[in-house]
Symmetry: C2
Subunit: 181 residues, 2 copies
């Protein structure tokens, strides 16, 4: 079986990209990965807007302090929620997060770096206007893709700091995590 845990562990946000286009075949695989995420009642509220246009990227970049990542990307996937297809905002947001993660992982496997940009939603009304989106479409994130020009690092909390132990939990497997990472 595929070693997904290695991809999950080694994927990092890439913020600098080579001047090399992302092939259509790879773009399609990234979108396909997003398409197959799970969602509550299988409502699939996510929508994807694909941008490979430096002029338009430059216009969008004005609405986030991370604009340089957007202008430097070879491919931008703007992730939207179709609020007409939404049935529970919290669950739809989690489902869209799952779709995004699928895309980031698949990109990583294809040798494509990615950066999940969330800060831009602070200016969502401006971006939605710029992109002339229907009023049902809400900006949730922008994903920048491209061949990596650098090798970034990151870290995570230790597992023992993520595990909750209520008194009611009968099986004492704290030791499982205590010695872990």
């Amino acid at each position: 079986m595929p070693d997904i845990i290695s991809v999950i562990r080694n994927r990092r946000s890439v913020r600098k990209f080579k001047d090399k286009p992302v092939e259509d075949s790879k773009l399609l695989r990234i979108l396909e990965a997003g398409r197959w995420a799970p969602s509550g009642l299988n409502n699939q509220p996510w929508r994807f807007l694909v941008i490979q246009d430096k002029d338009l990227q430059s216009k969008i970049s004005r609405y986030t302090k991370y604009g340089r990542i957007i202008t430097g990307a070879n491919l931008l996937i703007v992730v939207l929620m179709d609020t007409a297809d939404s049935y529970n905002r919290d669950k739809d947001l989690m489902a869209t997060g799952a779709a995004i993660q699928n895309m980031l992982l698949e990109a990583c496997v294809l040798g494509i770096g990615s950066c999940w940009l969330g800060e831009i939603v602070n200016q969502k009304s401006h971006v939605q206007k710029l992109l002339e989106l229907d009023s049902d479409l809400e900006l949730l994130a922008a994903l920048a893709f491209g061949y990596p020009a650098c090798k970034p690092i990151s870290c995570r909390k230790k597992l023992k700091n993520l595990i909750i132990y209520p008194d009611l939990k009968s099986k004492d497997n704290k030791s499982l995590y205590r010695d872990g990472q």
Copy 2:
């Protein structure tokens, strides 16, 4: 590189499980996959409560109409958000969705079926009380795991129905998706 797209496409919600425990080594890998999800400002708002206790599962099962999946599971991971670590609810929900998807994918690779249960959050205050959780911990989902006793099917919208084409998008690659799935 690992063939993640096949796992993404073939993973399905499993609602019936064999009477066979999930090994601790597999549980740890599932949690490890969740741990390495991306989050805004790397705030990692997710927390995991691991339950392998049929009595407790039975008590929890009363708070969802999908209770039978909870009682039938060999492992339940209750996914919580630490609201004290939250900085933006929308982004934290998406990040937690990414962590959940990591766990579902890793479980699939390990031969473990899973079901993401969201309906239970309608009764979150009762579940939080039952589990004696700190007030900072908010129930976001329950993930049921176990060795699959059935082979479920599912489907997704076609890619062409997920792609948004604003007038501004200069590169006309509609044909890319039109003939796709």
